[in-house]
Amino acid sequence: MTSRPSALISIHNLTIAFPDETGERFTPVVKDVSLTVGRHEILGLVGESGSGKTQTALAILALTRPPGRVVGGSVLVDGEDVVGMDEAELRRVRGKKAAMIFQSPRTSLNPLMTIGDQIGRVYQRHRGLGKSAARTASLAMLRRVGIAGPERVAASYPHQLSGGMAQRVMIGMMVACGPELLIADEPTTGLDVTIQAQIFDLIQEVQAETGMSVLLITHDLGVVAETCHRVAVMQAGRVVEIAPVAELFARPRHPYTIRLLGALLRPDQPFDLTRETMQVSPETVLEIEGRHYRAVSVDSWAAKGVSTPELVEVGPEHVVLCHVTEVGAPIVAGAST
């Protein structure tokens, strides 16, 4: 028996592409993405819509929707590469090693099946319980996730639940599987602010109780600041920065991250950003000199023999996507599409 790898999830150079309607041209939506999720940690994955966050997460469970496919890289779940696994093996991974909750919980539930039946079958499948034992367990789980009147809810159908309740049900189904990683893809979109807070509290509770890791996908930096240990920032299909939460908020390096944080309007910034630099677009090239950010003209940038960008370590556990020049000093560049 080999020892368990330290990182629960290890993604290396993952590229996912979708063909256009003729099937000839592929457009990559996830480009050369590498990141890891450690055991017992909460990793936040932030970025705008279309940045590839969801696709990256789906790849962990090998759920990339055809006709899209993984065209490069590997995704190691507890040491095993799920890329290229067949269905039978994948069924071992899904639910048991990693499970996912989605953006719109009500459409993630079968509209023609009662809630009780849906949670019940998870218990039957993953815990091997019989029908009545599964029913008892489902009721207990509904109570556990904070749903009042579990008998009534177990007899209802998804369209009769509120968004918040449906998401609790989804979390319950997840916990019933007992996975080592919970992937939460924008779990509170469309929910009331107070309900949002409750859902995140619930996730943190479950995480503390079971010790599972969480990959939290969101575009809400405030939530990240409060709940996550580390953060990865994605833009246009690439990972542009990964850092522990405090480090990212204190010393963001990538122009895109800076712009994201700039929107938070924090008054006590450790560096001074003039109004102009705040207008920085992702494609702007900046050169780091001390703590001032200088824009570099295209000619001098090109003249330095710029190569394809890589994730370069710029601090403790802190990597940024940069062009590395011959000179040796990293130039922080935006990822253009």
């Binding site: 759920l63 639910g95 996912m100 993630s108 509209p111 023609l112 998870v122």
Partner: protein
């Protein structure tokens, strides 16, 4: 709203529709240009006969009175008299209805059991060559003229290869029909254990069923494929897969039940095709149903019979659609519980 109120509203609406159907047929028969007197009396009738017939048809009365009389007649079951047979049209049609039902059910069964699995298969293997072939079968089926296809089948299977019996009805002429329980020869023969008749009835049923079924298969294929695709690409199937449920479990538990709802829609459409197509198929195979009766009525200018046929077909169609609506409410809790 509750189930009861929904059903009540639906039934009320279908009553209105039925009434509208009767009025429409009346409009078609009386208001359109064409001289019903000439038709009934013949070209050589004298003015006196014409006047007598005109009075008999009630054509001298005002429009509204004629309409009310007609509606009253229909509600009492009086659809006029057939010129050729001399019997009331209602009697003629009800005698022949079982034959049509037998053929329609057989075709429905054939089309459903072939079309639905094909559509589902194509959906599960989306984008593969199977998908392409199934798609083409559906398209060709929809483009095939039914009457021609029946003739081709007769030529191949009866004339050329001598596999099928002569297309002259439901049974070989020397055999007696089984005891009349449902009017469906196959069912009656099966129930009474009359194996010779059963075999012969099935042999006669085969070709017309295939002809009608092949053309009608197309909507089954298309709809079951798209319903299955919708389900397979839905959020809840994705969520179920992410929980590690197997494809077969998902198809069985999630997909099929949801696809069933769409299948009901198809059945409604297909019924329309069947009710229309039966005229053509029965004519070619001399199948003694209401469609064949209609064709004979057409060639014999038997207008009461033709209109009676149109009316009865529409009524059947409305009733069946109501049944389908009720079935919807039973399957889909979103409708049932509001």
């Amino acid at each position: 709203m509750s189930l009861g109120r929904y059903l009540l509203r639906r039934l009320a609406w279908s009553v209105v529709t039925l009434f509208g159907v009767i009025v429409t047929v009346f409009v078609v028969t009386r208001v359109l240009p064409g001289d019903p007197v000439l038709v009934k009396a013949g070209a050589y009738a004298t003015p006196e006969i014409r006047e007598a017939i005109s009075k008999q048809l009630g054509l001298d009365k005002p429009f509204l009175v004629q309409l009310i009389t007609y509606v009253g007649d229909v509600l009492r079951g009086d659809l006029g008299e057939s010129i050729r047979s001399g019997h009331p049209v209602r009697e003629d049609l009800s005698n022949r209805l079982p034959a049509t039902i037998e053929l329609a059910l057989a075709a429905l069964f054939f089309a459903g059991t072939s079309g639905i699995p094909l559509g589902i298969w194509a959906a599960v293997r989306r984008g593969s060559w199977i998908d392409g072939v199934v798609h083409q079968v559906a398209i060709v089926g929809a483009a095939t003229p039914l009457f021609w296809f029946g003739l081709v089948l007769i030529y191949l299977f009866y004339h050329l290869w001598h596999i099928a019996p002569a297309p002259v009805g439901r049974l070989a002429t020397e055999l007696q029909p089984p005891r009349d329980l449902t009017g469906l020869y196959t069912v009656d023969a099966l129930v009474t254990g009359n194996w010779t008749v059963l075999r012969d009835a099935l042999a006669h049923l085969a070709l017309p069923t295939f002809a009608l079924g092949f053309v009608v298969m197309s909507p089954f294929i298309k709809m079951s494929r798209s319903a299955m695709l919708n389900v397979l690409e839905s959020d809840y199937v994705l969520a179920a897969r992410s929980l590690g449920l197997s494809d077969r479990e998902i198809v069985r538990q999630d997909a099929l039940k949801n696809a069933l709802v769409s299948l009901l829609t198809v059945t409604g459409i297909v019924l329309g095709y069947l009710l229309a197509g039966n005229v053509l198929v029965e004519t070619i195979f001399s199948w003694p149903g209401i469609g064949y009766y209609a064709w004979n009525a057409i060639t014999g200018s038997d207008y009461d019979a033709i209109n009676g046929f149109v009316l009865v077909v529409a009524i059947i169609y409305v009733v069946l659609n109501v049944v389908i609506d009720v079935a919807y409410t039973l399957i889909d809790p979103r409708i049932r519980l509001g």
